[in-house]
Amino acid sequence: MTGQTRGSARPNQWLRNLNAKIASIPMILTAVVIFVGGTAWTVLYSFTNSKLLPRLSFVGLDQYERLWAAPRWLVSIENLAIYGVLSLIFSLVIGFVLAALMDQKIRFENTFRTIMLYPFALSFIVTGLVWQWLLNPQYGAQSIVRSLGWTSFNFDPLYNSDIVIYGILIAALWQGTGLVMCLMLAGLRGIDEDIWKAARVDGIPMWKTYVLIIIPMMRGVFITTLVIIASGIVKVYDLVVAQTSGGPGIASEVPAKYVYDYMFQAQNLGQGFAASTMMLLTVAIIIVPWAYLEFGGGRKRG
């Protein structure tokens, strides 16, 4: 593009654009040392029996066998699957419905948007603690319903290992649906007004217009949102720590917490590396098809 030094002698390939290269050193270091190097390092050491300190003594797939035999890891994966599928479905559906409502030329749109999005500005720790309080069986939602006369009412997700993950889901949706709504709203605003007019002239009911015409047209927005939510799901950590600390027992453990605990608390680095490599694999499974859809097929962005 621009900015090629047009020196008549072309002194040295390496000195061309020297300032730009110097300016890019942090980016290059981050990309190469941290992102590529760090990832490769972790994957490599996941095949060793590192305990307190990383050691290069290879044990093949031992760490992975141990990982997949650990009840706590299996619970983590199961939780992540339930939490992941439900939070994907709910945030997409709720986010879209809210966006569709907001797109009805309503008054006070800004006020509504501000209210729905403010939880997103908060830390997961804050969100987790608030919902810990709201779901406290002694004072929170359960006691309110009981005090209304329904004394046998039971809703104590954070103390019941069978449903604890749903308690976390409630908090996660409270925090995250505002963002999905905003993205969807932007998508809806990008749709040509004539589409609506045409659909109306043809007498197609509104819900049908949404399902059959608008949603397919918003494919790009949906995919982007999906990728954003999905990679957030894999990383979920803070919320669980704040809300339940993984409890009761190990009922609300998630992979990110497994990694942290094994690396920094149990000092079983090999397990931590193997678990984090599995997380990497999960993300790769999500990202690769998306990257292919988005950047493959000759279309280029940016």
Partner: protein, 305 residues
């Protein structure tokens, strides 16, 4: 006009693009506003409960329900949360964590934006061989779970002698802020008219002169967006704070979690909620003050995942 037709026929068919309907209390309006108001109450409820709880004394909490407004307003929980609540051995409240967070956030925001903006500028205007490759790695790397890179970073920081210090954490925030910020600035600078850049080149301006004299003054809006993104993101961080710092440097989020989830002693819910609000105050202020810019910021930052 389509609108006139709709209003006249009283059918629930006004599309999003229609003009405002004439009748205020149409069935459609009741459904739309009704739903939005109910949803808004749901979103506001936790904030309300937080505030109400933080203003009650412990006896009132033990008897009343969490939605009841305080009978006797007391600010004692706030004072306690700020100055006396205990984490581990220290009993100096959240104030320590607050100042740690300030000392982490301010340099992290400034350095990460400075580095990334120059980077984005180089990528947009001074392309060199291989730049795109590194940039692609950077963007793809943004999707790698942090957990994969944490330990190698611990080693790097240890080798540099800054593991456990605020400097180390600032470096970490700069690293993980780089993908999204670089993308943001690169796209912004690439969108500026090329003639400007060319004219400056003809006049003999170099890399830094163009950056400081032309690009910087023209890109105040994007700097503000980046700042909002970073301030809220870094303030709300928990994982990096817990991994890369020692307890005396814990940011506010980590300290808050330690106060609330400590197992010893009676749980003082009012103090906990006051502490929670105090921690949320900075990002909430940024959110309410910046309004639309925040939306732009997160829309750009959402790519970070």
């Amino acid at each position: 006009m389509v609108t006139a037709y709709d209003a006249a026929s009283d059918r629930v068919k006004v599309g999003p693009r229609g003009a405002k309907p004439r009748r205020r209390l149409s069935r459609r309006n009741i459904i739309v506003y009704g739903t939005l108001i109910v949803v808004s109450l749901y979103y506001l409820l936790p904030l309300y409960v937080m505030i109400v709880t933080s203003l009650k004394g412990m006896p009132e909490i033990r008897v009343g329900n969490i939605f009841a407004p305080p009978l006797e307003i007391t600010f004692e929980p706030w004072v306690k949360a700020w100055a006396e609540a205990c984490t581990g051995l220290n009993c100096d409240g959240l104030s320590r964590g607050f100042w740690n967070s300030v000392r982490i956030t301010v340099p992290s925001v400034i350095i990460s934006i400075a580095v990334a903006s120059v980077n984005g500028y180089a990528l947009a205007n001074w392309r060199f061989k291989g730049a795109d490759l590194f940039f692609t790695i950077l963007i793809v790397g943004a999707f790698i779970p942090y957990q994969v890179m944490i330990y190698p970073i611990v080693i790097v920081l240890r080798e540099m002698g800054v593991y456990g210090t605020l400097t180390g954490l600032v470096i970490v925030h700069t690293i993980f802020g780089m993908p999204i910020l670089t993308l943001l600035f690169r796209n912004y600078f690439a969108g500026l008219p090329e003639e400007l850049f060319k004219a400056a080149r003809v006049d003999g301006a170099g890399f830094w002169t163009i950056y400081f004299k032309i690009m910087l003054p023209m890109s105040l809006p994007i700097f503000v967006v980046a700042m909002i993104l970073q301030v809220t993101g870094i303030w709300n961080d928990f994982l990096f704070g817990v991994v890369f710092t020692r307890p005396e440097y814990y940011p506010m989020t980590v300290q808050l979690n330690n106060i609330v989830n400590s197992v010893q002693g009676v749980k003082e819910y009012n103090v906990n909620m006051a502490a929670t609000i105090l921690t949320g105050l900075v990002p909430l202020t940024v959110y309410f003050v910046s309004g639309r810019l925040f939306v732009r910021g997160i829309a750009a930052g959402a790519v970070k995942g």
